[in-house]
């Protein structure tokens, strides 16, 4: 069962890492699809 729990833990870590990393790298929708001349930004 350790392998299964490790797999689930890695899944959560990778997901949070991807979310944080991609946002930090400027891949959020706001960064990619918006700009200074968009009123909602």
């Amino acid at each position: 069962m350790k392998a299964m729990l490790s797999g689930f833990a890695a899944m959560i870590l990778l997901a949070v890492g991807a979310w944080y990393g991609l946002n930090e790298m400027g891949f959020s929708s706001a960064d990619k699809q918006s700009g200074a001349n968009v009123r909602l930004d």
């Binding site: 392998a3 299964m4 899944m11 991807a18 990619k32």
Partner: protein, 418 residues
């Protein structure tokens, strides 16, 4: 040795039977009520080529009206420099401009936003929306429900597949820790991706009317977060599983025997199998091929407008000539950026529904459907009696390797019988 069938063959027969019944009792095709296209074209002469009330009514009746005439902009032969002779813009009239915008044929310039912002009217969005809430949700939903019903019926008829021989108490290592880790990384993320995807598709139909928009909205925000970010562990798990198991899943002659006996339905013996039997190979290649396709279309959706897939794919398909040979017209290769996204979403969902149905069956057979199956992915250790019944050739290989190296599999129980 008297052995019972694994029951997989019965399951295949059941699914095939349901497919035949679905075909026989399919809804009748709607009657042909189309208006003669020549009559519609003739009526347009009275309006100078513009669409008529008959065109509009035919479309409202749901008939397939050829609208190519509406994309013919400008009046051939008209002098575009003739001021105020025909219209404020001369030969190039205002209606031409509006129709060009309507059909995304106008020469639009924008200061920001690129090609995406140049599309002012994109009627493909409506077709995508209709498809998503109509056939996709309907057939996709019934596919999953039908699979669960078929499995429940199968369970009632066949029961849990047991062991013919008593447990030996000796175990062999079926999957190493790294294999189980990759399996659960892939499985855990796929289940959550599937649930969050279903929530995104069906939330508006079921949760919103029952529990209100607030709960639906919160669930959708959570589903979006889960769906976007679990894509990465899913893809990593897919690559790991492929690298570790592809060698064991190359089709070979034992699969012919396995399929010839339909997994055990024909004859009384269990067909011999190596590490993976024919049915498991089908699961493996389904996961790899469909999972890779879902990943590709998912990446296209994760990075909007950055990774268009379909125009080029359609061009390659057109070049093969297969579509034309089957009697269909060429696929469109001039797609708006928004159309690329719509097609990616539709393909993503269609393939995901098929893979979800397959995985539901996989979960069934790996848990309540077969005694001892979960141990293979739980502890990694399976009883020798189980291994002999379901993977006799693989067990022989393991035994031969142990005899050769003098080492036993980790955590093995007593000394092997030989």
């Amino acid at each position: 040795m008297s052995q019972r069938s694994s029951g997989f063959g019965w399951f295949i027969l059941l699914v095939a039977g349901l497919a035949v019944l679905t075909f026989i009792f399919r809804p009748p095709a709607p009657a042909e009520t189309g208006t003669d296209p020549a009559a519609l074209a003739e009526a347009r002469k009275a309006t100078g080529g513009a669409q008529t009330l008959e065109d509009i009514l035919a479309r409202q009746r749901g008939e397939d009206v050829d609208l190519s005439f509406r994309r013919e902009f400008g009046q051939p032969g008209a002098d575009p420099d003739a001021p105020l002779a025909l219209a404020p813009l001369g030969g190039a009239s205002d209606p031409d401009l509006w129709r060009a915008l309507r059909y995304d044929a106008a020469d639009v310039n924008v200061s920001a936003g690129g090609d995406v912002a140049k599309v002012l009217v994109q009627d493909g969005g409506m077709a995508w929306y209709e498809f998503r809430k109509g056939p996709l949700a309907t057939y996709g939903g019934w596919l999953l429900i039908g699979t669960i019903i078929a499995l429940a019926f199968f369970y009632m008829v066949r029961g849990r597949i047991g062991l013919d021989e008593p447990m030996t108490g000796r175990t062999v290592t079926r999957f190493q820790a790294i294999e189980r880790f990759a399996h659960w990384l892939l499985a855990g993320s796929f289940v959550l991706l599937g649930l969050s995807g279903l929530l995104t598709l069906f939330g508006r139909f079921f949760i919103l009317p029952t529990f209100g928009p607030e709960l639906n909205s919160q669930l959708l925000i959570a589903a979006k977060f889960v769906h976007n970010n679990l894509a990465w562990p899913f893809m990593l798990g897919l690559v790991m599983v492929f690298v570790m198991w592809v060698w064991h899943n190359i089709p070979d002659r034992t699969d012919i025997t396995w399929f010839a006996q339909a997994g055990g339905i024909i004859g009384k013996n269990h067909p011999p199998a190596k590490k993976f039997n024919g049915g498991q190979k089908i699961i493996f290649w389904s996961v790899i091929l469909l999972g890779a396709s879902i990943s590709l279309s998912g990446l296209s959706l994760l990075f909007p407008f950055e990774l268009p897939l379909f125009a080029k794919t359609f061009a390659i398909i057109n070049d093969t000539g297969i579509i034309q040979w089957l009697g269909y017209g060429a696929l469109p290769t001039d797609l708006a950026p928004q159309e690329e996204m719509q097609l990616a979403q539709a393909w993503h969902a269609i393939v995901a529904f098929v893979l979800m149905a397959i995985i539901i069956a996989h979960i069934y057979i790996g848990s309540i459907g077969m005694k001892g199956a979960f141990d293979a992915m739980g502890s990694g250790e399976v009883d020798e009696a189980w291994a002999h019944q379901h993977h006799s050739l693989w067990l022989d290989e393991v035994k031969a390797r142990e005899a050769r190296t003098g080492k036993k599999s980790p955590d093995t129980g007593a000394t092997p019988a030989e």
